[in-house]
Symmetry: C2
Subunit: 664 residues, 2 copies
């Protein structure tokens, strides 16, 4: 293939290992996968065979020679064959020709790990139902915590069914931390405790001297220290009971608000949640469900790189503070689902510090790294240290000389390092971890926070110590209940095969970036005449976005129609479609993309931001290709960059001619 | 085996088919499972092989002859072998000797269906990522809806990661329905619409004439009719916008409460959620997270059969109404997780009707059938009709003559039939559906309710019609996002192998009931002297609960110690334990079990309810055996009833003698 490494003799260190990590687009590793799966199956079978053999057989050989048995076997066989042929109408995510959503095939390790554990079907809600896989879950959470730079002992995390539940849990916990000092104030009054607490100015003050506004701005760490101080000041059961009775969790918003009114008089406005404008649509579901309300989502503008604008964040915080509006949390994104944009989290952290110092304002800082989290493995050396941008680039081999900024930049590395300063991070192993669904993860910097949401079911002894109950019963601290231990085994085995550093996931994700940049570069260089490919800014990780236009098209609406036409031809959205390459598309809408859309509209020559805004929800259609395929940038495989661009231009011509037809 | 069918020549109709449905305790069906799995794997492999063969190979044979490749294969192989030996420290759920939690092995159909689809890894968040399995998911939801008696066209449902999320979603949606008339009132005022609505008294009245108390008591159906009437009275976009801006979802509780105060003056007390006292502990998590507050959970007493007491429910509703407290929802349970108790839902429905008629009070009625839902298949005939209790009993063959009430009773059948009258039902396929984790399900009687929680992501065109978007994008209507299409395939294939009626799941669950009753009967008859086995009431489905005591033990605390000792010996709670039979235990605590504990304490002769209450959280330890094994009641397999009882008594003796030891 073309234009990737200028020096064709560069071989990435993981090149050969990479060839074994996946089944492969032509199932090249079918023998390996079948061998490992068969091993897992037979191993399980022999476990059953040898479990109390003295019991004899429940299903005897002669039981299998009956019409009833035969009929049932025939049914399941036939229905399976039907299912198998149906499944082939699915999406060939594994193919180098799939360049659509954030989906690819899974690591062989993950597939085999999932399958092996699924035969045992452990339930990670409690160790009693999962003596092995609960441990694996806590182990992979520690691995992920180490990758983002959390102290493995101080932090805590677990797997979830996916990013929505993980993000939901982050905000649920954040709310409990932020409101803890308020509950502590009520509880301390009731128990007659005199407590000191560290305010956002870093100074210690008596808890009861603080005003409502100060209480909701206690930094998260100080809030948890206060909680611990209470535990030391009075018997635990009493403290827990009193805290509970003053908590939002217990009272619910309706009673809580009434109580605050009585206690503090003039109430504060509703608390808000700051999110990067590009944040996933699920944040709207989350604040709705939590009772916070989508009207309390404050969207912080993004810059032209689709990253949360730290200056705009500062202005937003200042403006809210002037209006006395408490801030529950700020959600920064590491790897937007549409563009793979990585917020400059290091600068967001600075804004939070400045807000604390200059405004006396504190909030929970969360990084939604559901998509991009695994890319933090790029900055990790095999020894666990942090690699500089220069070291990473050197390890990736020579890159073409062109206008693209070198990748990664020091700012990118700093953003990944700053994950360690967020209060919580969510990372989906089922995205850039290449694990089968379902596998999300939530990590908390301070393990103590989980106590704030703990619930004791009747089958857990209340007298069992808190320290040990973590291992006994995950369900106590998490939102979900029954959950597949198989997911933990899948993540665990995949982390063993691909360590979370430059040797494994780091090397792998670098290859996807190389591929994405090769595609991006080619789209910028190709002679598409009479069409033009207008590129969006280069990706922070591996999602390439662009818009195709033609001199005939003078309005946003026309450009949208062309790109929708291309999308319809290069997707499975029409029944029976068999596109040669598959892409997807998104829609830039106001006000979310106000900070990023202007240069694109300029380049398209279709009017300005005002016209685009006037288009309402139609917005601007943008074509997208997620490059999760590590082979795209390899010099010696099928040349899917050329193939993709050729098909794109052919389909553009076809879509345009259809637009010209009567009724088209 | 003993004492089950008095007529030994009775062969249940599904007997032979049943032998093929599971891998079996000695992996008797290993060849069948391996054949089907290999079929699925190779079928997938050949799909890849034939997908654009002109692309050539990305991984070439020579790539596999490198030290890097070999090393990576060695790593994954060795780590897998390590995982496999670890997994054997797991729980032998498959064994006839496992009689603990609600866990057993999975149907072969479900295992193979899951595995086959996992190779394709479809994501059921959107049909674009799961053209096949989204359809399968909607199909299995319709099958479950049909089983509970919902109209398959009028209802709607989908799969979730499990029961907690499913129940959460039910209450989330219920809140939106109950508060809809309030939002509609505000929206109608804003848009200048004159609307009529049907109140809880069944009479139509102008929306704007209603007081706050009447607005929160509009029956769910009438609320949705009102929503539809609004859609017809004004342009949809305007209606949606106005409704949204007056909704709790949008405003959040803090602003909402303030607005109600302004609009209606004297506010109502916080809304409450009624739950059967035996409801799962996750309801506490759910109301906490939703911002309702655990203090707003009103526990309705259960009777001596652990079923929600309809008279107590009526009294509770009356008392709340007198205090003007709005009721959001009532949660009834079909198959408690501790006892498998089935609420008399038919009588709960009657209470709701009476409340509407006599008190002008309405609320959302939810059945938490996460455990027991699949047992509704017992009442379904192959033709889809309802079987009477008598017909079901006749089909089960002759039962022993003894003191046990015949099963099922007409009341049990009526309870299952009444599921069709609940507004929502949650059913976990990963419990009595014998599907691998994760598979929960939520069903709504009225499909329109999903519109109240719909969120539009940027990649879904707002102009696409609502009717078609259901099939395009499940994520729009559900709480979760990315989710395994494999789970849908597993449920789908299992429903094909075991239909949701007397031929499949119905027959299968009947066999587990027969086994549970055989165990129950034996525990009641066995000469345990000097011990006594005090049985709790006979199970409504298949969980057997009992307490072992001894003449020496005169207090609850001593009895608890004995039973904890038995549990420790018959569980995997101690590292390295290898018990011959596995049980579990729960703890009856006040006030949840106030209505049920008295006869048990009486029979134990350890004082009264007051002593038990004084024991606080220690409560009463109860041993539990969930019989999900369909073979326990079969006359020709290993006699695990005898084995279980023998081991139980031996361990009781051992536990008692340890108690007598110094320091014991």
């Amino acid at each position: 293939m073309a234009d990737v490494p200028t020096s064709s003799d560069f071989v990435p260190p993981s090149r050969d290992a990479l060839r074994s990590w996946f089944l492969g687009p032509r199932a090249e590793n079918a023998e390996l996968l079948e061998r490992l799966l068969t091993e897992a199956l037979r191993d399980h079978v022999f476990w059953r065979r040898n479990h109390h053999p003295e019991d004899g057989f429940t299903i005897r050989e002669m039981d299998k020679r009956t019409p009833g048995y035969d009929g049932a076997v025939a049914t399941v066989t036939e229905e399976l064959l039907g299912l198998l042929s149906e499944l082939k109408r699915g999406v060939p995510f594994f193919s180098g020709r799939y360049k659509g959503h954030m989906a690819f095939e899974q690591t062989i390790a993950a597939q085999v790990g999932y399958f092996a554990a699924m035969l045992y079907n452990p339930n990670n809600v409690a160790i009693e139902a999962s003596p092995v896989t609960t441990r694996l879950e806590l182990e992979v959470a520690r691995e992920l915590a180490t990758m983002v730079g959390y102290g493995p002992k101080r932090s805590w995390g677990h797997l979830t069914s996916g990013g929505t539940v993980a993000n939901f849990e982050a905000l649920w916990v954040a709310r409990n931390v932020i409101y803890l000092p308020l509950a502590a104030r009520g509880a301390a009054d009731e128990l007659g405790l005199e407590l000191e607490v560290t305010g956002s100015d870093g100074r210690s003050a008596p808890l009861k001297s603080l005003a409502l506004r100060e209480l909701v701005n206690i930094p998260p760490d100080a809030a948890m220290d206060l909680w611990e101080a209470m535990w030391e000041a009075a018997p635990r059961a009493e403290v827990n009971q009193a805290l509970r009775e003053h908590s939002l969790q217990h009272l619910g918003y309706q009673e809580y608000v009434a109580r605050l009114d009585r206690a503090f008089g003039d109430p504060l406005p509703p608390s808000v949640v700051l999110v990067a404008s590009t944040a996933h649509y699920s944040w709207e579901k989350i604040v709705r469900a939590l009772g916070i309300g989508s009207n309390q989502l404050v969207f912080v503008p993004v810059n032209e790189r689709f990253r949360l604008d730290p200056d705009a964040l500062w202005e937003t915080v200042k403006e809210l503070t002037e209006r006395n509006v408490p801030i529950l949390a700020c959600i920064s994104v590491c790897g937007t689902t549409e563009e793979s944009a990585v917020d400059r989290l290091d600068r967001v952290v600075e804004v939070r510090e400045r807000a604390r110092e200059e405004l006396g304002v504190s909030f929970h800082l969360h990084s939604d790294a559901c998509y991009g989290g695994y890319a933090a493995s790029v900055i990790r050396s095999a020894e666990g240290g942090v690699r500089s941008a220069e070291e990473i680039r050197a390890g990736m081999g020579p890159q073409p000389e062109d206008d693209l900024a070198a990748w990664p930049t020091p700012g990118w590395v700093a953003s990944m390092e700053a994950l360690s300063r967020a209060d919580s991070v969510t990372i989906d192993p089922h995205k850039l971890g290449y694990i089968p669904y379902p596998a999300g993860a939530i990590l908390f910097r301070d393990r103590r926070v989980r106590e704030l949401v703990a619930v004791d079911p009747p089958y857990l002894l209340p007298t069992q110590g808190l320290s040990s109950s973590e291992d006994l019963f995950l369900g106590r601290f998490i939102f979900e209940g029954s959950k597949p231990g198989a997911a933990a085994a899948a993540v665990w085995l995949s982390h063993k095969a691909l360590p979370l550093d430059e040797r494994g996931y780091g090397a792998h994700i670098e290859r996807t970036v190389v591929g994405a940049r090769a595609m991006y570069r080619r789209l910028g260089e190709v002679d598409a005449a009479p069409f033009r490919v207008v590129l969006l800014p280069e990706p922070d990780i591996n999602i390439v976005c662009f818009v195709v236009t033609h001199p005939k098209l003078g309005s946003i609406e026309e450009v949208n129609r062309l790109n929708e036409g291309i999308y319809a031809r290069m997707s499975l959205s029409e029944p029976g479609a068999q596109p040669d390459y598959i892409i997807t598309r998104t829609r830039f809408q106001t006000p979310i993309y106000d900070g990023a859309v202007e240069p694109i509209l300029d380049e398209l020559g279709v009017g300005g931001v005002e016209d685009w805004r006037a288009g309402g929800p139609e917005g601007l259609v943008v074509l997208r290709s997620t490059v999760m395929d590590p082979f795209l940038g390899e010099p010696d495989g099928p040349d899917h960059v050329t193939g993709f661009v050729d098909v794109l231009l052919a389909e553009a011509a076809d879509a345009l001619s259809e637009m010209a037809e009567p009724g088209g």
